[in-house]
């Protein structure tokens, strides 16, 4: 059993909140040692249970506690405060993680399983630049006002399937599943978004109370209570709901990595498959190209069609809404492909899966010292590696593993926002490794 307690001090915080501390407790027991009887029969080799409770504090950005002055242009000049309430009462964000894990090794350590469940709650998360009543004295505010929860399962299975002198085969599976939720947000803030994720049109990584932290908020189709798309009676085109509502969730159902390592005498072959199931992607590239008439979606532009929906004619919420019968030919009506009739929602591709061969390496290690006279060289190995050789996906864009911004983006980042992002290239490396 371990107990740690950290005392920290951060100059980015105001004096009264500058010094803070947090505890951490962890406990583990090796069940197989406590009950040696479990090891009988050479099935169970090792069993450990572990649990931990840890807190950490996360800091505000520098100077976010100090409101600054801007120029005032009134007669006499001088200064006045800028829009931002850089809050002098900020406290560090608190993150509490509860984790429960186990490690089991079976068949003389040939098979090992490591599983963990974690539950992380972030409290008093600092929201920056959100609007409130001007009664705060400012227009944009900074407060410890949000909280989020992340729970997940991590499972790692390692098996030595074949282990002979000349041939061995090792497989590792990494399984990951996460649930996340915004559990606390000021009730009067309908949506808070990270502006760095607002790359194109009207879709962004907006957080909504009780929604996921990985949501996509954006404009969508206006619908009646029955869920039918509303069609403007004058044009035959859909009516757009210009509210940033949750239209997608980028969080995958699960991810699985499969790593194989095969060895035959001096030959080695390893490959890593990467499987992702679920998670939505906003294909802004396609939206842009559609509006420009350059996407596949516009190939059938001369084909007349009637958009399925009901007319927005006042009867749309009644028991008998008017079905849309207005035929449109997009080629003669470019509004058809515009964001005013084909909103962001239409380009949020749902449940995107992928299976990709992340890495394939083939290597040959020469027998000991083939170089007579070069005693310094101990080993020599030739290898060839291919990255991203295969990608199987239901995504219509270039590559669903996109991040619309850099890793430096705040919050959960901009993964799942595809605007002109290039696919990961296929790369091949050939080389030699010398050991001295």
């Amino acid at each position: 059993m371990n107990y740690t307690h950290r005392f920290e001090s951060a100059s980015t915080l105001p004096v009264q909140n500058r010094n803070y501390n947090y505890p951490g407790v962890s406990m583990s027991m090796i069940v197989s040692d406590i009950f040696p009887g479990l090891k009988k029969g050479n099935i169970l080799s090792f069993w450990k249970l572990r649990t931990s409770l840890a807190s950490t504090a996360r800091l505000n950005t520098p100077y976010s506690t100090q409101s600054v002055f801007v120029n005032n242009f009134a007669s006499g000049g001088g200064f006045s405060y800028g829009f931002t309430n850089a809050n002098p009462d900020l406290k560090p964000e608190k993150q509490n993680t509860y984790e429960l894990g186990t490690e089991i090794r079976l068949f003389k350590n040939r098979l090992s399983i490591d599983g963990a469940y974690y539950n992380t709650v972030n409290k008093g998360q600092i929201i920056q630049s959100f609007r409130l009543s001007y009664a705060t004295g400012f227009v944009l505010n900074t407060q410890n006002a949000a909280s989020t929860r992340n729970t997940g399962i991590e499972l790692s299975i390692n098996g030595a399937i074949v282990a002979n002198k000349n041939f061995s085969w090792n497989t590792t599976l990494n399984f990951n599943k996460m649930w996340n939720k915004v559990v606390g947000m000021p009730l009067n803030v309908a949506e808070y978004y990270i502006s760095d994720t607002w790359l194109y049109g009207n879709a962004r990584a907006g957080l909504v109370l009780n929604g996921p932290t990985t949501s996509i908020t954006g404009y969508g189709y206006a619908r009646n209570a029955n869920g039918d798309i509303l069609i403007a009676p004058t044009t035959g085109l859909p009516v757009v709901d210009q509210r940033f509502l949750i239209r997608g969730d980028r969080n995958p159902a699960f991810t699985l990595g499969i790593n194989n390592m095969l060895r035959y005498k001096n030959f080695k072959l390893s490959f890593l498959w990467d499987l992702k199931v679920g998670g939505d992607v906003f294909n802004a590239t396609k939206m842009f190209m559609t509006a420009a008439g350059r996407s596949d979606l516009t190939a059938d532009r001369y084909v007349p069609r009637v958009i399925k929906g009901v007319l927005n004619d006042g009867k749309q919420e009644s028991a008998t809404p008017t079905p849309n019968t207005i035929s449109v030919i997009p080629a003669y009506n470019d509004a058809y492909y515009a964001s005013t009739a084909m909103p962001e929602e239409a380009f949020i591709e749902k449940n995107i899966n992928w299976l990709r061969l992340r890495d394939l390496t083939f290597a040959y290690a020469f027998p000991r010292n083939p170089f007579i006279g070069l005693k310094q060289v101990k080993t020599l190995e030739f290898f060839a590696t291919g990255n991203d050789l295969f990608l199987f996906t239901n995504y219509t864009g270039a590559d669903p593993a996109v991040n619309g911004n850099t890793a430096g983006t705040r919050g959960v980042g901009a993964f799942g926002f595809d605007y002109g992002t290039l696919a990961a290239p296929i790369s091949v490396n050939i080389g030699a490794r010398l050991g001295f």
Binding site: S67, A74, R131, G137
Partner: protein
């Protein structure tokens, strides 16, 4: 060990101080001299201009409130505010006083007071409280219930509205606090230093600031004339201590250097009054066509109003545009352009009064103070004293126009001492004390506040519910409130009594409170405020 710990404690505690000293944001100032805060705060009286937001203040909302009180109307038919409508939709219209109070002056004013205290600049502290007292009163006059007790709490998410009576109480206590600080000397107090901040207001004269505070107090008592506990003696007391000569007028002045911030909000450079034209009501009032002043051609008309091609003063009716006004009777715009012209001239030579780029903008005048005094004496039953104050009010207004606003008035029509004395001798204008009526006082006050203070005029008119009568005679004689199709339909046949709080402050982020006070109703603008209720 003890030595070690002691040393560490000393090191750490001195470190903390060093950290704070070192840790000011290097990119922009986090503390500035109080002298540099005051000009921007004063700029907010009329129309602010800063790198963070502009047009907060009374003048922007005055464009709409001026329509309610028929100072002016729109030159084309169908304007929502001509119809006494409130702001609707995602609009910040009529939210400028709100933004002025909470943000424009807001924390700038709080900090000026805090830092003024630290530096013992009691004059800056007093001026801060003086402006805050005025600001609370103006705020509640426009909006009714406002956020009082929870204001400026930067850690709060939702803000509770307080009732208007509490705001009036606060105005008075803040005013008394202002007076106590303005009385203090020593420390960092000096007129030269105060003038660095209020050069464009009172130029360092704390005596004038005190008079301003007293007149604000007088306003606060005068506005409660409908209340059972109305105290005319309090009005009289504070009027007498307040602004009684034009030299003491509270006036925002402009450097007029050719940029937005230093230009009068109503001048052509700012270009905000292009579609506004004087109303028939005010034109008649100044040209002898009003029932109370029949036949009295007011020499101030040429200062305040615009002529038409018939060389007479005529105006338009709210919501009708030019309808019913013959082409030759249609007044020029306030910058001297034709009736149909909405664009501003490049030069302000043809402009007059507060419609010039550099024209001073009155906030509270000696004339207004005298009319408050006149009304209080009148209500108290002392008609002789009321008449004296009434006459002083007219006289002071004329003097102010002659001193500050003669530019642009042709010599032949300028008010000379003779013109003035002849005018004041007119018994229709200045009757015998026994014949003085509230109508005389309120209509002359209406003229004295014309264009620069529609908010106070609105407060007056709301006290008289626009069309209240005295002895069977309408106080605001000949004032015709819009009705029928000329009254905004969502008003439900009621006249306007308040503005809704600023949209982007309250209607997105403080909805639960708005719901509680009824501000989500479409006719919230017609809900009568506490101050005017019996």
């Amino acid at each position: 060990m003890f030595c070690f710990i002691t040393t560490m404690v000393i090191v750490i505690s001195s470190c903390t101080q060093k950290v704070d000293e070192a840790y000011a944001d290097p990119n922009a100032a986090v503390r500035v001299p109080v002298e540099t805060l005051l000009p921007g705060i004063i700029g907010n009286f009329v129309g602010s201009s800063a790198a963070a937001g502009s047009a907060y203040g009374t003048a922007n909302d005055g464009l709409y409130i001026g329509r309610y009180v028929q100072n002016w109307a729109t030159n084309s038919a169908g304007n929502q505010y001509d119809q006494m409508g409130g702001a609707t939709g995602a609009s910040d219209i009529l939210g400028s006083v709100w933004a002025m109070h909470y943000f424009g002056m807001g924390v700038n004013l709080n900090k000026m007071i805090d830092w003024g205290m630290e530096e013992q600049k009691w004059d800056y502290v007093g001026v801060g409280y003086a402006i805050r007292a005025w600001s609370w009163l103006t705020l509640t006059n426009v909006y009714g219930e406002v956020i009082l007790k929870e204001a400026y709490n930067r850690d709060q998410l939702v803000f509770k509205y307080d009732n208007q009576q509490e705001v009036y109480d606060s105005v008075r206590s803040i005013a008394f606090r202002a007076l106590s600080y303005l009385d203090r000397t020593g420390g960092g107090v000096s007129p030269q230093n105060l003038a660095k901040g209020d050069q464009y207001f009172y130029n360092g004269d704390v005596t004038k600031w005190k008079k301003f505070v007293y007149s604000v107090l007088a306003r606060s008592y005068n506005q409660l004339s409908n209340k059972a506990d109305y105290k005319p003696d309090s009005v009289i007391k504070y009027c007498n201590l307040g602004i009684n000569v034009n030299e003491d007028n509270a006036t925002a002045k402009f450097a007029n250097t050719g940029i937005t911030g230093t230009s009068n909000f109503y001048g052509p450079y700012r270009g905000n009054v292009g579609t506004l034209r004087q109303t028939q009501f005010v034109a008649s009032l100044l040209s002898g066509l009003n029932a109370t002043f029949t036949g009295v051609a007011d020499p101030r008309a040429i200062y305040l109003l615009r002529l038409n091609t018939n060389l007479t003063f005529r105006g338009i009716s709210p919501n009708l545009g030019s309808t019913g006004v013959a082409t030759n009777d249609q007044p020029q715009n306030f910058w001297g352009g034709t009736f149909g012209t909405a664009t501003a001239p490049t030069s302000d030579t043809s402009c007059r009064y507060i419609f010039k780029n550099g024209a001073p903008f009155p906030i509270l005048t000696a004339s207004e103070n005298k009319f408050m005094l006149a009304e209080a004496y009148y209500r108290k039953g002392d008609k002789n004293a009321a008449l004296t104050a009434y006459k002083d009010g007219i006289s002071l207004n004329i003097d102010m126009l002659v001193t500050d606003y003669t530019t642009g008035v042709v010599t032949a029509r300028q008010i000379t001492p003779t013109v003035k004395s002849t005018f004041l001798a007119n018994t229709t204008l200045v009757p015998a004390a026994a014949s003085l009526t509230l109508s005389h006082i309120m209509l002359q006050k209406y003229i004295a506040l014309f264009a620069h203070n529609p908010i106070e005029t609105w407060t007056d008119m709301r006290r008289y519910h626009y069309t209240d009568q005295e002895n069977g005679k309408q106080v605001y004689a000949d004032f015709v409130a819009p009705s029928g199709l000329n009254l905004y339909i969502p008003n439900n046949n009621k006249l306007v009594y308040r503005a809704r709080p600023r949209y982007n402050s309250e209607y997105l982020y403080n909805i639960s409170e708005l719901d509680r006070i009824g501000a989500l109703l479409l006719d919230y603008n017609t809900k009568e405020q506490w101050f005017s209720q019996k």
